[in-house]
């Protein structure tokens, strides 16, 4: 209650209840008391309610056998695994879908954001229509659209759409050959890693030469051919230690290979298309914020259109875009919890859904889930802040 009045020396003539420091102390104690009372009220009621209803408390369930299966697991999991294991499966699924969607949403968003500024009227308008539609339709509806409206219409396994390279597309998802790495695969891998390191050194050297002489030695072609060529040669020399487990049509669905389930695919597409619209707006805002003089100046310096965007506009626009992207990534991570509506086994689905139902311990499940999202949010924030510092203008 004392914006800007702190510094005033306390006047002995002021009655004590008009003394700003005493008043401030009083109100704070009052507020603190209220908060404590509220928490105590909730805590006391919860404890007595749980005891009266004979509901178990605590985290003893964590090591108990879960007994149910999960459709998509990144770590080994079976019905004999524990609830705790199920938690990690759900959490990893949430992180996987968030990371993949963030990747695609950024690409799509940047493209659409740039298209919105296209000089082609039709392209710009189409991009605008896209942005307005996806920004103003609830995400849940978009997910239903992709899951039921688009992927639900794919053919049954027997009539799978056959794509090149033994890839099958049907209602069960996208089935792909699964690479099986032989023991000798380590050699081409070593070759690859070492050539990449060599390429990086070459690149660094080329820049040094350019800085000194103004001419850049063309190391790009050499490094590229080396990075691709050498591992290939080593690969064939070591006897092609890579085979593919190709999906084969079985009685029900093709077995073998890798499957991207439609729940995952539609959640990724849904989150990507939705978030891309927001990112596009941020990108546009960032580009528009750069004054036209920058473009004109770089043209006057003889930079090509591509160079202008790459070397002049984007580095400056990024400073505006990155903080905005941060909040988009955060909301994407949080929005991934909507996967529960289309059966994607994310954290909310597995933990706040099935596990909560089997154990009945609502307080523990919901609190843990909330804490996990809070942590994910803080981590994403921290990473983006670090990235932001890197692209921010270095002020001397």
């Amino acid at each position: 209650m004392s914006v800007g009045v702190e510094g005033r020396p306390s006047d002995s003539k002021v009655v004590f209840y008009n003394d700003p420091r005493i008043r401030s102390l009083f109100f704070q104690l009052l507020l603190l008391g209220l908060i404590v009372a509220l928490f105590w009220f909730a805590y006391d009621n919860t404890v007595s309610n749980l005891r009266k209803r004979n509901i178990a408390q605590g985290f003893a369930f964590w090591d108990v056998e879960a007994g149910f299966d999960i459709s998509q697991t990144l770590i080994s999991y079976s019905a004999a695994s524990s609830y705790g294991r199920a938690f990690w499966v759900g959490l990893l699924n949430t992180m996987l879908v968030s990371l993949v969607s963030i990747f695609f949403a950024t690409i799509l968003g940047v493209i659409i954001g740039i298209l919105r500024l296209s000089r082609n009227w039709l392209v710009a308008k189409l991009a605008m229509v896209y942005v307005e539609i996806f920004r103003n339709v609830p995400l849940l509806l978009i997910l239903y659209f992709w899951y039921r409206g688009v992927l639900g219409l794919l053919p049954e396994p027997r009539e799978s759409i056959k794509l090149p390279a033994d890839i099958l597309l049907n209602t069960r998802g996208l089935l792909m050959p699964k690479p099986i790495f032989g023991d000798a695969f380590i050699y081409p891998l070593i070759a690859f890693v070492s050539t990449v390191i060599l390429g990086a050194v070459l690149f660094w050297w080329a820049r040094r030469v350019q800085a000194r002489t103004g001419n850049r030695p063309n190391a790009g072609l050499f490094s590229t051919s080396m990075i691709i060529g050498l591992p290939l040669i080593v690969f064939f020399l070591s006897g092609s230690p890579l085979s593919f487990d190709v999906p084969v049509q079985g009685r029900f669905n093709a077995s073998g290979g890798m499957t991207l389930p439609p729940e995952f695919v539609s959640l990724v597409i849904g989150l990507t298309t939705y978030t891309a619209a927001f990112i596009a707006e941020n990108v546009r805002a960032g580009i528009v914020a750069i004054s036209k003089g920058q473009t004109e100046a770089s043209q006057a310096l003889g930079l090509s259109h591509g160079q202008t965007i790459r070397l002049v506009i984007m580095p400056q626009a990024l400073r505006v875009i990155v903080p905005l992207l941060n909040s988009e990534y955060l909301s994407l991570t949080k929005n991934s919890s909507l996967g529960v509506s289309i059966g994607y086994p994310d954290l909310v689905n597995v933990f706040t859904g099935t596990v909560l139902n089997q154990t009945g311990q609502a307080v523990e499940m919901v609190s843990v889930t909330m804490l996990v999202y809070l942590t994910l949010s803080l981590l994403t924030s921290a990473f983006m802040n670090w990235f932001n510092r890197r692209v921010a203008l270095v002020e001397r």
Binding site: M1, V3, F27
Partner: protein, 353 residues
């Protein structure tokens, strides 16, 4: 003097006319400038036009020409039974319109939610259209009078002679709007308090506001709804039975208060320090300064932000379907499960037996 005549040159014929300048107006110039400015752009334009040509006639056909406008069951929209291709079954929407808008709200009492919609629209227009005067009254109307009237109107009250309608009869668009309205009516004042708390010099108020705002903004709405749904009943003494809709409303209001607080904080930060100092110099108390000087200016700045929040809020009301509240999305789902609209195939086969 004679040389003068020799220097004279009189052109004896007109030079060829220059080509006319490029048109700078008209449709051709516009098209050349905006659609065909380069080879790449021209190719792009032609591709897009071709794509639109492929999609739009089919859409018009399905949406309007072959669509069925009135239907009593899915039989009326069945292409096999009708013997001609059928587009969108608008008849389904037509037959369920009342259900979509009001849910199971008793039909003879539907004037009450209708009146509620009108009152809400009036309040919003008064608040948001700049040319309508007396915004202070508009605030009092929308944030105090309207919610109380709306509560008695929708819920009913024996003493006022309005038949009570329990919340499990409410549904559809009505529920979406109720959630949105309660969200905005609660979250604006609570958001302002939180924003003031966050900028306060009192450490307790500041840290309490920061923790609450950052906690809520860090978790998805759906977990807040789960919390409201399964944990809230445990927080209150046994025997209190918070209504399911009320629980969701608490969750939504809490959630959007945090977002509103951040929006309002933006407005507060934009007010120059001189305004605070001038108010203090005049001897205004903290609340006088806020209510009379700072907030009127800050809120005016953040009106677009508040409207954005409101739109986001309306979109997010769809999530309540996940915790089993019959909002707009859920009633559409439910009516799709209605046997009359799903069993048609079976009825058709039954005739054959």
């Amino acid at each position: 003097m004679s040389g003068q005549a020799e220097l004279k040159f009189i052109r004896s014929h007109f030079s060829d006319p220059l080509p006319p300048p490029m048109r700078t107006s008209g449709i051709f110039h516009w098209a050349r400038e905006n659609l065909f400015s380069s080879v790449f752009n021209s190719v792009l334009t032609i591709l897009i036009l071709f794509g639109l040509y492929q999609v739009i006639p089919g859409m018009i056909d399905r949406l309007i020409i072959t669509a069925v406008w009135t239907a009593n069951s899915s039989k009326d929209c069945n292409a096999e039974l009708l013997g001609h291709p059928v587009g969108v079954c608008w008849g389904f929407v037509n037959a369920h319109w009342g259900y979509f808008v009001f849910g199971q709200y008793p039909e003879h009492l539907r004037w009450r939610p209708e009146l509620f919609f009108v009152l809400e629209a009036l309040g919003l227009a008064w608040l948001l259209v700049p040319s309508i005067p007396r915004k202070d009254w508009a605030m009092i109307y929308f944030f105090i009078i309207f919610p109380i009237v709306a509560f008695f109107l929708l819920n009913g009250s024996e003493t006022l002679g309005l038949t009570p309608v329990q919340t499990h009869f409410w549904g559809g668009f009505l529920v979406s709007i109720v959630i949105g309205t309660v969200g905005i009516v609660i979250s604006v004042p609570v958001g302002i308090l939180l924003a003031l708390g966050r900028r306060s010099h009192m450490p307790v108020a500041r840290s309490a506001s920061v923790v609450m705002i950052e906690f809520i903004r860090g978790v998805p709405l759906i977990t807040v709804l789960f919390m409201a749904n399964v944990m809230f009943p445990l927080f209150v003494p046994e025997g209190w039975r918070p209504d399911p809709l009320l629980r969701v409303l608490v969750g939504v209001a809490l959630f959007f208060s945090a977002y509103m607080a951040e929006t309002v904080r933006g407005g507060l930060q934009a007010i120059p320090r001189g305004q605070y100092e001038a108010a203090q110099a005049l001897g205004l108390s903290y609340w006088q300064m806020m209510v009379k000087i700072i907030l009127p200016q800050a809120l005016k700045i953040v009106i677009p932000g508040i409207v954005n929040n409101f739109i986001g809020l309306l979109k997010d009301t769809t999530l309540v379907a996940i915790v089993n509240i019959f909002d707009f999305l859920k009633v559409i789902e439910a009516s799709l499960n209605n046997p009359v609209w799903r069993l048609s195939q079976r009825l058709a086969t039954d005739h054959r037996h």
